[in-house]
């Protein structure tokens, strides 16, 4: 797989490079505040009722914030590889296609108890408030990891 000629290099704000070179433990107070804020936010969103406006806002708000950061104020990104080994990458695509196929087969059947979809299997696991909040923290952190890529 070759490099895409339309690849873009995101603009970086001044000082971002120097900031991001600091090791994670170099700013413990700031990290603690951010961590506490993330956990508090996840706890609040985890307690909202499904299909409510509050639950929707709890997801859309971090999405909007990360979208703005990704395009307007991107942090120094972890350099992406110039190329990928096609065979190695194809293993990932095959596994992901299998996951989608398995899920689609269950959804097509209407996700009955005898052929449940992944969503119907995961939803009960996310029922307890602490579990759902922890999952939201992981989701938020994965969003940040994507922005840094």
């Amino acid at each position: 797989m070759t490099e895409n000629s339309s690849a873009e290099t995101a603009p970086r704000r001044p000082g971002a490079a120097a900031e991001s070179r600091l090791p994670l433990g170099a700013r413990p107070a700031r990290n603690a505040v951010i961590g506490a804020g993330l956990i508090a936010y996840a706890w609040i969103v985890g307690g909202t009722a499904p299909f409510s406006m509050k639950a929707l806002a709890g997801v859309v708000l971090p999405g909007a914030v990360l979208g703005v950061i990704a395009y307007a104020r991107p942090p120094e990104r972890i350099p992406a590889p110039e190329s990928l080994d096609l065979a190695g990458f194809s293993y990932w695509m095959i596994a992901i296609a299998l996951l989608f196929e398995w899920e689609a087969a269950a959804v097509r059947d209407g996700s009955p108890p005898w052929h449940p979809s992944l969503t119907n299997l995961i939803d009960p696991l996310l029922g307890p408030h602490p579990v759902k909040s922890a999952a939201i923290v992981i989701w938020l952190l994965s969003g940040w990891a994507l922005v840094r890529r």
Binding site: V45, L84, G88, L126, I136, R149
Partner: protein
């Protein structure tokens, strides 16, 4: 073995395969990229970045807002 058990086993097998691929990618003994590497590659063009971020947003909506 019930069809429910087979369905769950299928999901576990595929998710297990994804974990194994990530471990193989991190081992550096194969040419399999890690999830971070291929996501980074896919996100090089702006369109790829938008699609991946929208997928992340959809996951959040799917599991946490509904």
């Amino acid at each position: 073995m019930s069809t429910r058990t087979i369905t769950i086993a299928g999901f576990l097998a595929v998710i297990g395969a994804l974990v194994v691929l990530e471990l193989m990618g991190r081992s550096r003994r194969t040419r399999i990229p890690t999830v971070g590497e291929w996501l980074g590659y896919v996100m090089r063009p702006a369109a790829g970045r938008a699609i991946i971020l929208l997928g992340w947003l959809w996951l959040g909506w799917h599991y946490f807002a509904r």
